[in-house]
Point group: C2
DNA sequence: TTCTGATGTTAGAGTGCTCTTACATTCACC
DNA sequence: GGTGAATGTAAGAGCACTCTAACATCAGAA
């Protein structure tokens, strides 16, 4: 049969579902949503092109699972970055911007699909859940920065712009020709941009402007 | 454009190349790069699926032409917005952020491909030219805002963050669930974010920080 | 008017992908 | 050890798309 030195390819993968998501994310990073296909992911995972359909009803479901995993991973990273940033609320929030940029540089276009692809309603749920977790995490951090009497809607708007700044910078970096030769510098720049936004908001509040 | 008095479908289209680019952009706005196909564009333009190949060597070339057209149009809009904003340099630069957001809201995902798709080397040129024109336009506006002794590299970095902010906000808006029910409010928010960035930079410069 | 090149059409070869069906292997549990 | 459910494979139907080839039409110059 199979000698111990020759690990014969096992019939069962072990945890194919997770493997497919992992390879799917890697493929997305390389080719973007346009180049994503169930068949390619299956090849990368070392299984037949029919195997994924045991775990996902269709292509869109696999794509959604990948997107949800990416958002979840990003959320964890942002939370960790905030934790490492120390006690100052503004520091903590600003740290998420540089963490986001660093993730984008490390994982290339993996970020693309998160806010670029329209998911069908039946696959939205998982993506939506993770997306909500990301928003909640940032909102909680932002709430410590802004005055306690800030209306909820305004808090959300603030978070939205904060995330936009980080996302835009990350997007342009990964696709926009500029080589990520100095990730630290880019991450620092994203943090600075976040700080500008925070300072600008607080100054407007102090001046009594909406 | 067909003459209004002759509704009969003519054998020759008139200006198919331009028509294909126009319909290509519209299709991109609806489906994104993933849903883009030469065949669909041909149907929309009212010609056979082989006709586009008289004007573009392959799919990628048509896609590049659409991208270049979009970037060119955006550049013109930003320049106009700056012109309308009046004499103050900071006003002029900030106006480009809201103009960018407004464009994204009007044309949905048309912005996506500009910084999302990797074009093959042989088709990059046109895209690159228009991209350069956009950068140049913004750089010229930024040069009036920043101190005269600002190093060129730093000026570029500043423009990069400025564009990122606008791009990120526009991207999240068009795809991120939030309905564009009040385009004016969103555009204003983008302008404010740009102003925060400008003010933050100038404050750091005044404090002697890099 | 006639010729010619540009621009359109139809037909179809070739490709790759999605998803299904029928069958093979393995695992978990009795 | 036996058995059913879970998880894999092979084969292929069906589809959309890219791009080519051969032919049709038109516009403008000789």
């Amino acid at each position: 049969m199979s000698s111990p030195t020759t690990p014969r390819r096992r019939y069962h993968h072990g945890d194919l579902r997770a493997g497919l998501v992992r390879e799917g994310i890697a493929l997305l990073a390389e080719t973007g949503v346009a180049g994503f296909s169930v068949a390619k992911v299956a090849v990368r995972a070392g299984v037949s092109s029919a195997a994924p359909y045991r775990h996902f009803p269709d292509r869109e479901a696999l794509l959604a699972a990948c997107a949800a995993a990416v958002i979840g991973e990003i959320t964890d990273l942002l939370a960790e970055a905030a934790e490492r940033a120390g006690p100052d609320p503004a520091d903590r929030l600003a740290a998420t911007a540089s963490a986001y940029t660093r993730y984008a540089l490390d994982h290339r276009a993996g970020v693309e699909l998160v806010y670029t692809h329209d998911f069908a309603a039946e696959h939205c749920q998982t993506v939506h859940e993770q997306s909500r977790r990301l928003t909640d995490t940032l909102t909680r951090l932002a709430a410590d920065v802004l005055p306690a009497d800030t209306p909820w809607a305004e808090l959300l708007d603030f978070v939205y712009v904060h995330l936009s700044t980080a996302h835009g910078y990350a997007t342009l970096l990964t696709k926009g020709g500029r080589l990520p030769r100095d990730a630290d510098a880019h991450a620092a720049r994203a943090r600075t941009a976040a700080r500008d936004h925070i300072a600008g908001y607080l100054a407007r509040r102090a001046a009594g402007q909406p």
